[in-house]
Symmetry: C2
DNA sequence: AAAAATTAATCAATCGTTTGATTAATTCAA
DNA sequence: TTGAATTAATCAAACGATTGATTAATTTTT
């Protein structure tokens, strides 16, 4: 097993669970089963380890998103595909997304936040482009496009960031995670249904 | 000026900006213009200060929410009122809500998290009750009610937790905050429009 | 044997908290 | 109405513990 990989793995878990400041280098070393000095040896510092971990993960989703946007299908289908992809990616990698979300919520202008913000911005603009395309083709009605993107992102984030709340709200038995396939498809269906109702012109047939 | 109040005031700011672990007692003391010892003197510990601060704020909104739920108006109107109230409360008190959101996202089962979760749960159930009422009266269609609540909470949270992202996305000039009245009404209108489209039966007239 | 990986020991800095002393305000007794 | 006793508020200084990081020595790999 690659120790460097192993460190990145436990870093994702611990940072998600205790936050950046709440995770000490000794906690990381203990959980990874290595000596503290190895962190500096491999990554230079705790902060660089954090940045490396985020960097490695943060770019993956966007390529697939762009692929969808370029596929020659209807905007409605594109949007459905985007939702399926986004929900699946975020729920199955909920650790890193909780970390990102928390980092951003601090409103601290670090190099890291800027990098993350820019990537999320690209994702958002891709979705906006899809909606605009649908509006030009008159199959989507006029809505607040930016806020609509906020609804997509926000609904998914809500589920992973307030997992305990959502669990209680949906009467999940404690063994079942909000990342389960069942919840995943339920969220996908909800978002598709919601956006369909939201974007379909009022006088159009259902 | 009451020093105890002043401490709670700056605590809200600093915890929102730097997180709990990222805020030292000396930072708090410096910003509040008091001696570090006063924190222990007044609150016992940093943790208790945190809990006091959250406790003081977290209960306020719910009373008003319940008032709306009991007012004898149509479920559609109730929902609109709930949205107006919730958006206004969260945007104008965005510090405490960022803190709460972050605390919950840690998934750490502390007494604090339980208290917060329970209160949010009550709020959520109040909204669910309103939607159910509308469904019984056949003026709302069948939807995933729990997920719909997640959409309401999530959309609002998205705006305050990813303020930098939202600012760029909506081309706000840097002086304008996401908590401005302009954005507030825009968010309220979006949510009302979204939920109206989502909940209105398909074969009903617009 | 040279290089890379790993270790225990240690560093200065900072953490949250406590201490003992001092001041200012209030209460009580004469 | 003084003067003594008590309380609350505030302070600088220091506490032990922990932080992220580094050192120098040792082991492992090539």
């Amino acid at each position: 097993m690659d120790k460097k990989e192993r460190i990145l793995e436990v870093a994702e878990e611990l940072f998600a669970e205790h936050g950046f400041e709440g995770t000490s280098t000794r906690m990381l070393a203990a959980k990874a089963g290595i000596n503290v000095a190895m962190l500096s040896y491999y990554f230079g510092s705790k902060e660089k380890l954090f940045e490396t971990m985020v960097d490695q993960r943060v770019n993956k989703t966007r390529e697939k998103l762009q692929l969808i946007a370029e596929t020659p299908i209807s905007p409605a289908e594109k949007l459905n595909n985007v939702i399926d992809l986004y929900v699946e990616k975020i729920l199955t990698n909920n650790c890193i997304h909780r970390i990102i979300h928390r980092e951003i919520s601090l409103h601290q202008r670090s190099e890291m936040t800027n990098v993350i913000t820019d990537i999320l911005l690209l994702n958002a603009q891709e979705i906006i482009r899809i909606i605009h395309e649908g509006q030009e083709k008159k199959i989507f009605r006029e809505v607040d496009v930016e806020m609509t993107v906020g609804t997509i992102f926000g609904t998914i984030s809500q589920l992973i960031n307030s997992a305990a709340l959502c669990s209680k709200l949906m009467n999940l038995d404690p063994t079942e995670s909000v990342s389960s396939v069942k919840i995943q498809t339920r969220l996908q269906n909800h978002l598709k249904d919601l956006l369909h109702a939201h974007l379909t012109p009022k006088n159009a047939s259902a």
